[in-house]
Symmetry: C2
Subunit: 423 residues, 2 copies
């Protein structure tokens, strides 16, 4: 069965508990990213410009609007910090295009949170399937897969929430094929998060339009002049998941900096050594990262986000890399951090994968400690919950974090969206 037929079938699938449990954690993480993202002052005028209608769907930072508007704004704001979850096979951020769609429609239609989480789980898995089907070529040529594959995932999720029949799901996917878009040329600008918001809005709109009888190509995704063929898709064969869904491999960001630093930071998290006992540090990483995040002498908070040496020194000195405000110009100048940084050597090592890092600490006593981490290492849901709660506390404060956590585990949609306003 082709990708389109599979996605249509998938919109009706049963959701395994384990997959939904992962989605629930991503909901917690995503909402916190949105609440924090809404505090970014540069997005305030855009946010205000969208507030032209009244509606039931809550928007990060306060107010509410129609489902399409809420999906657009929430998708954008929750990606503003680039701190939301990622998936390697999808090549993108899976939740940020799907959850804004699902939550906005669930609020509008008064759907229970458990059903919304099921729909989101299907949507995220569908994004990953579509991302794999589009393949590396699609990403390499310049498409922003978070948004392109994400729009199809958002469509599947919205179709599930609305209870579309198979014919309507087909047309919704067909309409999506004319709207899924977003290019990597936008990276480093406000249009990058906007791409995610647009994908989320597309999910809402195409599902509602298909429900209103709009028709589209029979196979907008895989047809001869369809999305894949026109957008450098590889049309890699994919299969619907059975028991083990790919959503299980979602990666959450626990450090508010470049993803290339995360394996090293996780390795150092277990160092448990006083900074003054350290004689030398050698960080080994995959060669690809050397041109991405090996700034040896960062001068600004932004540059710190791309520095192995500086973030390693921060961690060893107890400055959390999960706290956004720690990535400041002051931190770039911190004399203690700068002094420790000078003891650090960063080398490339092609025996490591992109998700691995190896750190060698040589203590002043002569003792040598080797610390390694692989981001793809399995993590229990309990361990992940703990790490996420710590992250979210740093992101939005302990009180807000606790309220959001209770709302999510209590299956209380109204309580979740009541948190969107922020402190």
């Amino acid at each position: 069965m082709g990708i389109t037929g599979q996605l249509i079938k998938f919109a009706q699938a049963e959701v395994p508990e384990k997959a939904a449990a992962m989605m629930r954690l991503s909901l917690f993480d995503w909402a916190a990213c949105g609440i924090a993202g809404a505090q970014e002052p540069e997005f305030a005028p855009f946010r205000r410009a969208q507030m032209v209608e009244e509606g039931p769907a809550h928007i990060f930072g306060g107010d509410a609007g129609g489902a399409a508007t809420a999906a657009l704004v929430n998708g954008t704001l929750s990606h503003a910090l680039d701190y939301d979850d990622t998936h390697f096979a999808h090549i993108g951020h899976p939740s940020v295009a799907v959850l804004p769609t699902v939550i906005a429609l669930a609020e509008t239609l008064d759907i229970p949170l458990t059903d919304a989480i099921d729909a989101a789980t299907l949507g995220v898995e569908a994004s990953i399937l579509t991302g794999v089907w589009l393949g590396r070529a699609h990403y390499q040529v310049g498409y922003h897969q978070t948004a392109t594959a994400g729009a199809f995932g958002a469509t599947v999720a919205a179709a599930r929430i609305l209870g579309l029949d198979k014919r309507e799901v087909r047309h919704a996917l067909g309409l999506c094929a004319s709207m899924a878009s977003g290019i990597k040329e936008q990276f480093g600008t406000m249009a990058k998060p906007l791409n995610a918001g647009l994908a989320a809005r597309t999910g809402v709109e195409v599902a509602l339009w298909a429900q209103a009888g709009m028709t589209a190509a029979h196979d907008g995704l895989a047809g001869e002049l369809g999305f894949g063929a026109t957008h450098h898709g590889e049309a890699i064969e994919v299969k619907l998941p059975r028991k083990d869904w790919q959503i299980g491999d979602i990666s959450h960001k626990f450090h508010a900096c470049c993803h290339g630093l995360h394996a090293m930071l996780e390795a150092l998290a277990n160092a448990k050594v006083e900074a003054e006992r350290i004689g030398a540090i050698k960080i080994r990483t995959h060669p690809r990262w050397m041109s991405v995040c090996n700034n040896l002498t960062p001068k600004t908070g932004l540059e710190v986000k791309f520095s192995y040496a500086h973030t390693a020194a921060m961690t060893l000195l107890g400055h959390s890399t999960g706290t956004i405000s720690n990535f400041s110009d002051e931190m770039a100048r911190n004399p203690e951090v700068c002094a420790l940084r000078d003891k650090i050597e960063v080398v490339e090592d092609d025996s490591l994968s992109e998700t691995q890092s190896l750190v060698t600490l040589t203590l002043t006593s002569g003792e040598v400690r080797r610390l390694r981490h692989d981001l793809t290492a399995p993590m229990t849901l309990e361990a992940r919950s703990e790490k996420l709660r710590t992250k979210v506390q740093a992101l939005i404060g302990s009180a807000q974090a606790e309220m959001l956590w209770q709302a999510v585990i209590g299956n209380d949609l109204d309580a979740v969206t009541a948190c969107f306003k922020g402190a």
Copy 2:
């Protein structure tokens, strides 16, 4: 100067009177297509689904909404009949992506109609420039240029209406590069006109967002990972027009059927001969059209739209091909038309261009008349006005046509949009 720099500069250009005069005629034609398109019952639920907000911008068929919504709905409805203007170099329908943007923003901001027409003229010319820059390859691989190039034209027009500065125009074009989309796989479905509506909405949104401080790629259109590079653009060198703008070559549809029939129908318009005096008819046309619109024995109104023989017989018997309701199943069965049709032979002739047709009438008296027409033949604005007024009368009725015409030539924006409701 690259395409992006040229478009930014162009947004501030002065508009020659002759170009604006052509745009004014296209406004008349486009509004009539929209008023008639709003009567298509299959689009009614989609139209209703968009009516979630109040606003100043009138919508075809009645009601009003915000500028973005009005642009979306009006762009879709005015392309529903596929009867709006076209441009060969652009490879698409230029007005339908630009005028909905301009009229919706002009109503919202209370801009005089003359300024709105200037903005639309720039927008249409910018669409054509962008279409030429993207080239045939972009269209051939499957992109719907009406929508893709059209979105950039709509952006330039909206930037002009809003009076954006150069930096803001750059960001608006950059945002557009993430949103311009639409594929030909949709042809034959309701998503084809929707593509036009989406392009028009994109123009409104990106201009407003750029005004609200959203940033995007420095060169979203021609950058390394930009729209052209990712969307099979040819990056053909283009130059801003001086005196003679390409908008002068716009083609208006005067027959509610396949464009391939139009040269033949124009040739026959000058036949002035009673049907009973005709012994035989030979129609010569470019070979490309033979597989498109040479249905020899159409059975339905839709099939009549793709039949040289049937539409030729209709014309000679006085059944107007400018009247949509004449393309009916009854007309397909009309015995008089079918009888005359049987005297007609259609042959391909590769000495003719795609825009030419040669018709040979052999009368029962033995006299032979040769009639030819080329769609690219120059037409005075006066002659074009007359033909458009006849078309619009057939499309929306004489009273409505006259009201719309007076509103357009009287520079009365409120009177133009008051016509949107229809009879």
